[in-house]
Symmetry: C3
């Protein structure tokens, strides 16, 4: 059984977070909330998303898996305003998700989850942690996209830095310690990342705070909350190796 009601906005947030990486997700339904984990086709980035049942207006669920086509769900949610309540119900007989928005009933076919992987979260040693507003970061990424396809992220005891270099041009965004919400940097860390991927991961954050864990030539871990802190997204992104 899965029977839930939630603001359309919360479902839209989920799609925004997942769709840059994957087209389909295996949604894990449990009595205390929903979650999924997915890896992009190039195996460069991973998303791990949890949404507590408290984010829902109503929530009743047994344990089950639902295979969701994100494009299709997105098209359905476009029929709702962000503040509309969307009702979700799993129809066992027809193996469909019944979605209700106002007087509209939309029965959505589900994907077979048999072949869908359960990615494992790798063990990572990421010594530096920084918490910052996402809008500064977004500006730095937009500036970098014009001149390069990768950025360097650096953390040391004095602050956070984003750096990109093109043939003739340079982008540098330096946020000293006092402009950061939190800085925990026992050592200097630096890693390179694809701008396209990193940009996709920052876009869903809106104007909130984002937590970044960084190592040396190691993946980045990026975390943020949504749905009044009842939802949580963790991204992992593999580093690019500097070519000399």
């Amino acid at each position: 059984m899965f029977n839930a009601k939630v603001k359309a906005e919360v479902l839209k947030n989920i799609i925004e977070a997942a769709s840059p990486l994957v087209n389909e997700i295996k949604l894990n339904i449990k009595p205390d909330g929903i979650s999924f984990r997915a890896v992009d086709s190039a195996h460069v980035a991973m998303i791990d998303l949890n949404l507590n049942s408290k984010a829902f207006e109503e929530y009743k669920a047994d344990e089950m898996e639902l295979g969701i086509d994100l494009d299709k769900l997105n098209g359905i949610l476009r029929l709702a305003s962000p503040n509309d309540t969307v009702s979700l119900e799993y129809d066992e007989e027809t193996h469909r998700l019944i979605i209700r928005i106002g007087n509209l009933v939309r029965k959505m076919g589900l994907i077979d989850t048999a072949g869908m992987p359960d990615p494992k979260v790798p063990n990572l040693n990421l010594p530096s942690k920084v918490i910052l507003k996402s809008n500064e970061l977004s500006q730095g990424i937009k500036a970098s996209q014009a001149i390069s396809d990768h950025i360097a992220l650096l953390v040391d005891a004095n602050g956070f830095e984003l750096y990109a270099e093109g043939d003739t041009d340079v982008v540098n965004l330096r946020l000293p310690k006092d402009l950061l919400s939190k800085l925990d940097a026992p050592q200097k860390c630096k890693s390179l990342f694809s701008i396209d991927y990193f940009s996709s991961m920052i876009k869903p954050v809106k104007d909130e705070e984002v937590t970044i864990f960084l190592g040396n030539d190691n993946p980045i871990k990026l975390e943020f909350d949504f749905a009044d802190k009842n939802g949580h997204v963790t991204y992992l992104l593999a580093p690019r190796i500097e070519s000399e």
Copy 2:
């Protein structure tokens, strides 16, 4: 003689109503108002539009026909704000329509109406009538477009229903009697229609009420007012036959 002044908005409404079906219209000018009737090139849909002279700020006209290129007129009206007064004058000598918007004078060549047909309105027996807000209908159509190219419309004593079915997905919009402005259904009626056509006919309605006449595997008649009820549009749309 044709000499009239009207808010740009009213002319824009006319173009919105006609342009999904035809590129050119034969506008019938009479002392008490203007009208036209047109059938789309596939002979699936008809529009019949009337605009009373009361919709105009000034209106003086003899009986005549003007062949109008809707794209061209639309381009000219884009130069006006909805609330601007547009002056229309027929120039007999050059066979042009002189359109004035502020200090701008635009002389528009007219189309020869000789070859343009005068479609007859077919005799139809459509027993069911329902009046409803167009916005619910629009949402149902948008939802249906994603999964099919046709919809079923149903009316019975309990309410109105829109239904579409794709390979795996279903859309259902049920408006019970108390959500309708009026319901007059002596018998159950059901007909299928092309979504593209039906969508085109709902788009110009904005947030007003629309009256629908429905039969069994019969055309649909759809009516709505504009220009403070001085304008009236009737659409007819042929049914699609269900393939078994």
Copy 3:
């Protein structure tokens, strides 16, 4: 040395004015302000732009030339809101322009100005002068673009007129003397111009006044201010010769 601070809006105005004609400019920096002059690749139109140092929040400069790629600068300014302060600094060592927006530092490579021409302003005898609001003019140009690729501009003692003629259609915008801010027309003048070029020159004017100097089958000179009258743009546009 070049070290200046200015609202992003002012720099955006410069790019809007120049980019319809050229992709690169040779910016002349002087102690009292900046300026450039450029001719489009077809040698039909010229821009001459001056911006007084008073338009800047801070300004310190020796005489020098900077070769600017306008697309690149435009991309950087998109990172700033119109009201943001942008800091500009010339870095002699690396021959780059260092642009600072908030915490973001963007080092932009400069173009070699060696091959860039210094166009001369031709001697022109343009007897008529008219000052008018640009929005009426814009409407006339938009209307004309739909029916022709050139317009006639006329000035006589009674007013200003814009005229375009297509195969069947005519556009006419007549602004009598009392609708003009100023009219100085010792003789009747008429010249033809390319609509595309003329449209590009009107677009950056926004809702301000524009001064036009006109002759008979002669170029047009078009002038307007920006940045609280601390900036001034002069356009010259060669006439099209009427084919009979």
